[in-house]
C-alpha cells in the first residue's frame, strides 16, 4: 500500500467492476440497509480516491488499493452510524412500510438455492466481529495482516476470530447427529 500518483479516473471504473461485488458485500455487512450500504460505498470510494492509496497491479500499472478500500468502507460506515437521526428516520419509515430489514448478500441465495440460503442465514446470524473477518478473508481475499490493519485489531485476533467463526458455522450447518 502506498500513497503516490493516483491512477487516472478512467481506470477506476474497470477496477470497480472487478472488485465492486466484494466491496459492496462488506458495505452491506457494515450497514443495516441497502441504501446505507450504497451510500457508504460511494463515500468510501471518494475518500480512497482523495487519499491516493494505490497498489501496483501485476502488469505494473497503478490501481486503487483494495485493502485501503475496505478500511475506508469501515470508516465511512462508522461515520454513518453516528448520524443516528437519519438512521432512525429511515428505520421508522421502513417500519411503517413493513419492509423486512433483511438484505440478500449472495447471488446464489437469490436463485433460491437452499444450501446457499442456509449458509447465508448462518453467516448473517454470526456476531458482527466474526462476520466482518469472514467477509474480508473469504470474499475480500485479504491476508490476516491486512484484515488486522483494516479492522484495527491484532493479527492473532483476526486469525482466531476467523477460525471461531468457521467453527460456529460448521456447528450451525452440520445437522446434529441423533444419539
Amino acid at each position: 500500500m502506498s500513497a503516490n500518483t493516483p491512477p487516472p479516473a478512467s481506470s477506476w471504473k474497470q477496477w470497480f467492476t472487478t472488485h465492486g461485488q466484494r466491496l459492496l458485500l462488506f458495505a452491506r455487512q457494515q450497514t443495516r440497509t441497502e441504501q446505507d450500504a450504497e451510500d457508504v460505498l460511494q463515500e468510501a470510494m471518494v475518500r480512497l480516491w482523495k487519499s491516493g492509496m494505490i497498489d501496483t497491479a501485476e502488469d505494473g500499472a497503478n490501481e486503487p488499493c483494495l485493502a485501503g478500500a475496505f478500511t475506508q468502507i469501515r470508516r465511512s460506515a462508522i461515520d454513518q452510524a453516528r448520524k443516528n437521526i437519519r438512521r432512525a428516520n429511515r428505520e421508522t419509515r421502513a417500519m411503517e412500510m413493513d419492509e423486512p430489514g433483511h438484505i440478500v448478500w449472495f447471488q446464489d441465495s437469490l436463485e433460491q438455492d437452499e444450501r446457499s440460503q442456509q449458509i447465508e442465514k448462518a453467516i448473517q446470524t454470526l456476531p458482527d466481529y466474526y462476520k466482518e473477518v469472514i467477509i474480508l478473508k473469504i470474499w475480500g481475499d485479504l491476508t490476516f495482516e491486512q484484515i488486522a490493519e483494516t479492522l484495527d485489531i491484532p493479527m492473532n485476533t483476526a486469525a482466531s476470530r476467523y477460525r471461531y467463526a468457521l467453527e460456529r458455522l460448521r456447528r450451525t450447518l452440520t445437522p446434529a447427529k441423533l444419539s
Binding site: 479516473a9 478512467s10 471504473k13 470497480f16 460511494q42 447471488q107 486469525a159 450447518l173
Partner: protein, 176 residues
C-alpha cells in the same frame, strides 16, 4: 493457498471454507458503478461545485470592459487574503475570484474542500403524538443546516455554502 494458521484446519472447517468461497456476492447495480465513476472523475478535476468551477474557468473579458472599469470590478470582487466570506448558493455564480485570478492567462484557483458538517436543531414544540395502529408515534420536526467550505490554500480565503433543510422524524412512542 498457503495456510496462515500455525495449526492446519481440519477437513470439516476446510469444507465450510470451500462452501463459503463457492458463494458469489451480488454485484453492484450498473447505475451505482456509473455514478461512482462519474463522481471519481469529477473529484479528479476541480473539487468545487460546478457553478463555482464555471466562474473561474473562463478568462475575464478585460478588453471589452476597459481597464478602469475592470479594475473597479476586480477590486469589488476581491477576496482579501485571510478574509473569510460567507457565500450563499445563489451568489456563488456571481463571481468570487481575486484580481490575480482574473488576469488573463493565470491558472485558476484550486479550492480545497473542507470536511462538511451538519447542525441539527429540534424545532421547539414540534413533538406531536400520533395515535397510529399498531403503535403510537411521536412526530418531531428537525432543522438541519449543512455547511460546506472550500479553502484557497494560497491565501486562506474561504467559500462557504450553507444548505438549510427540514426533516420530519417519527419515533415509536409509549403511552406510559
Amino acid at each position: 493457498m498457503k495456510s496462515e494458521f500455525p495449526e492446519p484446519m481440519d477437513a470439516g472447517l476446510l469444507q465450510i471454507e470451500r462452501e463459503l468461497r463457492s458463494l458469489s456476492p451480488i454485484a453492484p447495480e450498473r447505475a451505482l458503478s456509473e455514478m461512482l465513476a462519474r463522481q471519481v472523475a469529477s473529484e479528479s478535476e476541480v473539487p468545487v461545485p460546478a457553478r463555482v468551477n464555471r466562474v473561474v474557468a473562463g478568462p475575464f473579458p478585460w478588453r471589452r470592459v476597459g481597464v478602469p472599469t475592470a479594475a473597479a470590478a476586480a477590486a469589488a470582487a476581491f477576496v482579501l487574503p485571510s478574509a473569510e466570506r460567507s457565500v450563499d448558493k445563489g451568489s456563488v455564480a456571481g463571481g468570487i475570484r481575486s484580481a490575480e485570478e482574473a488576469r488573463p492567462g493565470h491558472a485558476p484557483i484550486s479550492w480545497v474542500p473542507m470536511p462538511p458538517r451538519s447542525e441539527y436543531r429540534l424545532v421547539d414544540g414540534s413533538g406531536v403524538l400520533l395515535i397510529n395502529e399498531p403503535a403510537p408515534m411521536m412526530e418531531y420536526q428537525l432543522e438541519q443546516t449543512e455547511h460546506h467550505e472550500w479553502r484557497n490554500p494560497r491565501d486562506n480565503s474561504l467559500i462557504r455554502m450553507s444548505i438549510p433543510r427540514q426533516q420530519r422524524v417519527l419515533l415509536p412512542a409509549s403511552y406510559r
